[in-house]
Amino acid sequence: MRAAAVMAAWRAAFAVPVLVLVSVGMFALAQASPFDPVRQYLGERAAVTSPEVAEEIRRSWGLDRPLPEQYTAWLGNLLRGELGDSRTFHLPVAQVIAERIGWTLLAVGAALVLMLAASLAVGTYAAWRQGSWIDRLIVGGAYANEAAPVFWLGLLVIWVFAVRLDWLPAGGLTDAAAATVEPGDVLRHMVLPVTVLAISQSSWLVLYVRESVIGTLREDFVIGARARGLRERTVVVWHALRSALLPFLTLLGTRTPELVTGAILVETVFSWPGVAGASVRAALAVDFPLLAALTLLGTAAVLLGNLLADVAYTLADPRVRTLGVA
């Protein structure tokens, strides 16, 4: 317990300089960017705005001040929660994120659950049938899946299930005519993006589960358990679960960047109204306030993933070791 707390504190302390460095880096990049923020803000109105007015805006934004001063002002606003306005969505950045982050968490959370369940089942089955054609098919499929770009996979899935078969909607959160968000409607729209996200992230886990179950099957205590008359399937499944959960938790932490990446692409392909997809729209419109906030958010998510994985590992470690000895 103490170890976990120390670990958490250490990780959290590490997160602060990383986030500060990321914010400095982003600010420096934005400064070096050829895009003029005032022109971006004015949009179409830029053509009819006089240079004096533009200069006035520049002054009121403090763009004529020295860079370090500008940075501290920007960081101060950020810390006070004043994230500015998003030009893409015509809304305050905080509101854009608040309205969308739930949908991202929902899709990613559902994908994680699906990925864990499916990978455990598939990986265990492959290990159990090690060497059979179905095992080879699963392993080959996992390799191929890892090599396939997720946006391409998403398009193929849309082509098959939405265009050809017309079973499921191709995108969006709800039917366009829906005035309220009904759970059943959302669920139907969730199926394809969540499945594609889960599949795209599952290769490593399937292979990991398979290998560790194969390893477990060779161990003495499993052979002993079999000898004691436990049903083979129970033995295999139980040990598979136990051996796969820990690496799942730790690896999950290190895989958070890939999860963020997958979410960006899947949300874009399926027009899912989450924060990840919003980053692409913000990037296309050079919407710095929103893009900067989302990049910091993504970094924070990765750091949080690492933290949770470490804590879980420290909490679980002693018990696992004793089990291993038994």
Partner: protein, 274 residues
């Protein structure tokens, strides 16, 4: 040599693809800006084995060119990240102490960045294009190389023949050239080879999102993006085929790299580091 069947097949596929991408200009010249509106949207046939796209360009030839473009961008990006990573790793490994710990913290910090998101940020701030893609991939992916180089430097420093060479009065540079480089190179090469498909993946993802190479250029990501529109009118081939051109070489590289890694570290358990 005892190469497993899969590795041999993968090597064959890669060799064939390399040959085709190198030779293609000899038998099919592709002008990036040339279209043929009179032959648009044709399904696969003898003349066009994978059909034509929405403005009449042959999907197969364009995919091969796309692979060339994506491979070039991927290779440059991978080399950039290898150079950055190699220098950082070398510095951390040879300097040691506080500098080492500090540099490794920086590596941890960079690993915490969601790569694509940061790449998107960089591209957005500097307008899409090949340079932006190379920079955005290069500056976010050098950490693997840094780790590998540092670990090798540390393990080499501890070995008797290096210690002997240093105590025998050989200069640091000489030691590095004579003993370090030959040991380091295969590992670095493997890391680069593994990096290329990943860099290609980044290029295609950025292009697909409209944040990569100029949209009329034959790149695999652009082609999938274009094909997305044709999907509804039934033209599945114009997005399926370029996707396969990403999948197949990536898969082949993964299989080969697995084999290579087994040979480099025979004692290490065969495990995919996907």
């Amino acid at each position: 040599m005892g190469m497993p069947v899969q590795a041999r097949a993968a090597a064959g596929v890669l060799a064939a693809l390399a040959l085709v991408t190198v030779l293609v200009p000899a038998f099919a010249q592709l002008d990036q800006s040339l279209v043929n509106l009179r032959e648009a949207g044709l399904p696969p046939s003898l003349a066009h084995p994978f059909g034509t796209d929405e403005v009449g360009r042959d999907v197969l030839i364009r995919s091969i060119y796309g692979l060339r473009v994506s491979f070039l961008v991927g290779l440059v990006a991978a080399l950039v990240s290898m150079v950055i990573g190699g220098l950082v790793g070398l510095a951390a490994g040879t300097l040691g102490g506080l500098a080492d710990r500090l540099l490794m913290r920086v590596v941890d910090g960079f690993n915490a960045l969601p790569h694509l998101l940061f790449g998107i940020f960089i591209v957005a701030m500097f307008a899409p294009g090949a340079v932006a893609v190379v920079v955005s991939v290069g500056v976010t992916h050098w950490t693997t190389a840094a780790r590998i180089v540092r670990a090798e430097v540390l393990s080499l420093r501890a070995r008797p023949f290096v210690e002997a060479a240093i105590s025998g009065g050989s200069g640091r540079l000489r030691v590095a050239r004579r003993h370090l480089l030959p040991h380091l190179l295969p590992h670095l090469l493997l890391a680069t080879v593994l990096m290329v498909p990943h860099a290609i993946w980044h290029e295609t993802a950025l292009s697909f999102l409209g944040l990569g190479l100029p949209p009329h250029l034959a790149s695999l990501g652009n082609m999938i993006n274009d094909g997305q529109r044709s999907l509804l009118t039934g033209a599945w081939w114009s997005s399926l085929v370029p996707g396969l051109f990403i999948l197949v070489p990536t898969l082949a590289v993964a299989v080969l790299a697995q084999h290579w890694r087994d040979r480099l570290n025979p004692r290490r358990r065969s495990e995919l580091n996907l």
